[in-house]
């Protein structure tokens, strides 16, 4: 099955990081896109999409987009029958990108609703609209708690790091089951952790890796200010000082379970690989859009030190040190706590299906240059605030 640039796509999650970049790419290549989604508290879906078009500089392509405000937790996606039928007629290949990416157990109900419960309506819509394909954007971490080799195959694990992984894994099973039952060709596309554009550094969302750097950035600002404007008494208490070369020394231990790596891919690679998979998709196939050359937490720590002009980050493995944490350490470690399993990950993701579908397209190595480019952009964009 191949697609063409005249094909219509139905896209969910178009206002998110991955979805918005897919939307941009599909429009750039001339596809029509029907965006299904919700308004925010202050903006309609159309207004949100307009903003994205401005950010991606997609002026002049408005004719290729149609938006429909829907509620996937309601029958007929919350639409009246007539509107629903009309929407079905306009539809095409469905890319389901919408997701609740929060890790917290506290949000289990919402995560389950968004990631799992909504599938009944979404797959139903795909069926009612005779969608030629159903592509589900999942995550490589739906593999759950596993070590070593993770195949491009249905989830086998029953243990997960957090509710996000768990609900994505459940969703994969639902997609496979119901698409098979409904005779809808489907794929499961599993990216790892996605950062900005490796070429330009651009991003319109600054989560995951960005949060760690942003945390360190603010911690640095707090202590720099203390030293430069308030005499640095508080800084001295915790061994924080300004070195001769304008480098701030912050003793900051990061305790991770064991040596491992962080699997990061840039958004430009995610988009290219996904478009290629859409073109060469094999039904019932799983695709890992991951890196075979993940960086260790020590690599990333050294990138942070270089970028932020700080020193003193120490990565320790195993049990957290007995010594009490100083306030910046306590703050930083609290922030990275939900992400710890991803900082010492030993999972290696098979990607033969992806390699076959993408003609050997691989992600660029996550070098300091790319890191710097992305973080400079993030700082310039005030972390998206």
């Amino acid at each position: 099955m191949t697609d063409t640039n005249t094909q219509t796509y139905v896209l969910t999650g178009a206002t998110g990081f991955l979805g918005s970049h897919l939307l941009d790419a599909l429009l750039q290549r001339g596809n029509r896109v029907v965006v299904l989604g919700r308004s925010s508290a202050s903006e309609s879906l159309a207004a949100r999409i307009d903003k994205l078009q401005a950010w991606f500089d997609l002026r002049g392509r408005s004719g290729q987009i149609e938006t429909a405000e829907v509620d996937f937790l309601k029958p007929l996606c919350g639409l009246d029958p007539k509107t629903y039928r009309a929407l079905c007629k306009k539809a095409g290949t469905l890319i389901h990108c919408a997701s609740d990416t929060r890790f917290s157990e506290r949000n289990r109900r919402e995560s389950t609703a968004t990631n799992v419960d909504s599938l009944e309506q979404i797959i139903g819509f795909a069926k009612d609209s005779n969608a030629p394909w159903f592509h589900y954007i999942s995550t490589a971490y739906a593999a759950g708690i596993a070590s070593g080799h993770c195949p491009e195959a249905p989830v086998a694990s029953e243990r997960f790091v957090n509710v996000y992984e768990e609900t994505k894994a459940r969703a994969e099973l639902e997609v496979a089951l119901h698409c098979t039952k409904g005779a809808i060709p489907f794929t499961i596309i599993r990216p790892s952790i996605v950062y900005g554009d490796s070429r330009s550094g651009r991003a319109n969302c600054f989560n995951a890796l960005y949060n760690h750097v942003r945390s360190l950035y603010y911690i640095r600002e707090i202590y720099r200010k203390d030293i430069h404007e308030h005499g640095g008494r508080k800084s001295r208490e915790y061994g924080i000082y300004q070195e001769d070369s304008d480098i701030l020394h912050i003793p900051l231990k990061i305790a991770v379970a064991h040596n491992g790596a962080i699997n990061l891919i840039p958004i430009d690679y995610f988009v290219s690989a996904t478009l290629s998979i859409l073109t060469h998709a094999q039904t019932g196939t799983y695709y890992h859009i991951t890196s075979d050359n993940p960086k260790t937490v020590k690599d990333i720590a050294s990138y942070c030190e270089a970028f932020l002009n700080i020193r003193g980050i120490e990565v320790v493995y195993g049990i957290a040190p007995d010594t009490p944490l100083n306030p910046p350490e306590a703050l930083f470690n609290r922030f990275i706590e939900p992400y710890l399993p991803y900082l010492s990950d030993t999972r290696m993701f098979a990607r033969s299906n992806t390699d076959a579908a993408t003609a050997g397209l691989i992600p660029p190595e996550f070098t300091y240059d790319i890191f710097q480019r992305c973080m400079e952009y993030a700082v310039g964009a005030n972390w998206g605030k």
């Binding site: 945390s215 603010y218 922030f335």
Partner: protein
Amino acid sequence: MNEALETAKNCRHYAMCKIDFLGSGICASGPEKQYVSYYPQGRMDLYAALAEQKISVTEKCVEIADSCDLCGKCDYQCCFVTEMRPSRVMKALKDHVARHIAAGGPVEKAADDLLLRQIREITSDEWATNDRAIAVTYAHDPCALAVLKMPAYVVLPRTREEISALMRLLRQHDIPWVVRANGTNLLGFHLCEGVVIDLNRMKDMVFDEKNWSVKIGPGVAAFDLQRAAVQRGYRVNVAEAAALVCGSMMSSGILSLFSAAYGTSADNFIDAEFVAPDGSCFSLNEKDAPNLFAFSKSGRQTPGICTAIRAKLHPMTDDEAGVLVPFQTLAEALDFAGNCATRRIGLAIGVLGAEYVSAFIAPTRQLAAEAREIFESRLGIACMVLVIGDRYALRSIKDMGHPVIDQRLFTALSLGLPSLKTANWLDLITELSAGDPFSYLKIKGFAELAETALAPSPARLAQETPRELRGFYEQLYARPEMTNLLWLNMFRITSTRVGRAKHFFPLLMYLPLEYSLISTLNDGFSRIGERHELKHEFGFVTPVDGGKRCIYEYDYFYDQNNRDDIARVQRATMEAGALIDEHSAREGTIRWLKHLLFQGYCRKENLLYA
């Protein structure tokens, strides 16, 4: 309108200039002459009346103007609460009178009359007057329901016997009277065209520590009583700092966050003495006394004038402190507050809206607005529950798993308030704690980190206050009690900041501590406020009687000099009253404060459940 007149007409009548709540002293002529006219509050009214040619220059007017030495103490006090600067008005008053005299203008002498002579036989000449300059300072109230009434006489009795004689005299002449408390009346009921009886001279306080009580006269203000009690190691349950304790008791009972532990209405006193309208005297502990412990929803007439109460003294321990527990929703906050009350955790408990918390901690309205924006929009705090308790209570709260703003962090936030708006890291901690809201407060050393980031200091905070008062504010905020949750809630000196930008009309009631009911009323009051284009805010909820009931306040704000605003708040209040009555009839468990007037001495059980 000139600046002085505008300031004068905006006096809120909170009477904070009558108590030395900042330790900066009070206008010397006030305690000497006792009439409100000789305090800055009275001079504000007097100047406004003169400037608008509502009264002429009288002998007392000249005396009042002369009694001000422009010391500026009123600026410290009033600015702290309302940001207004009364000394400009004091100067304008003196200038006005001086110009009048220099121009050869007449100085009116109040005409003598029989009734005045008879009153003066009771009180002596000094303590009764019909001079218009004094009368006008008792003639109005910023309450939207108040109607201006110029009293014929103002009398300041000293003893119960004098009041008794006065009552008999007024009854004999069929002269209406009202008793004047310290500041405003919630419903504007202390105005009268007959005689205003000001009890300011009756400030006796006699402690009976063996019996855990203090007998106080009706002129004793909450702040002064609390100060005297604390000096002896006790605490009393009192209303706002300037409120007269007996007056609060008479009009509503004591409404405070400490009511969570100390109760309300009759829980707060041991005995009370009265002079009835016919001049007879009685004490509540007498067998034949009128039954003021009863409560009637249809209301009651005044039982007379309370001339003393024996208020309860409560013990204090040296490990008491306060914490603020933030919540994303009112429902969660009410649940927590109710849970604390049911389990008898804490001495004072209050669910405070973002408007209240911001107003209380910020010395200026600008900072208050910024604080509110930060609390609500950036930190996601819808409301906070304040709990005062000993170390065991505070440990229990910690065990309940709630993140708290402890005393240390509260001090950092208060003194570091100006740095909050530029603290970009606030967004990050909120985002990264989204799965477990406010969990960053549990990070060990977070208060210390906040201290580093906000660089809190009295000097920094003072930079946000008027230039010429910065030295004063710096010294003031260097005093630990000014950022101490326990002290601030015992002495309640910041409560009146709620009315800093505009005066407000509070809707106060007792009702079950149930989210669905409170939320319904909140929504209803909000819709009414919106419909009448009034600023409106949820105020506070304090559980009483182990959380079975609570005190709930919702406020409408209005410009006290704007007729349109006043008309709108009057209409809004009527509609809100109808809403309360409707729910009250349906639920049978709501007691609106309006019904409690003159019944604050009733048994709590009669009030809440009978």
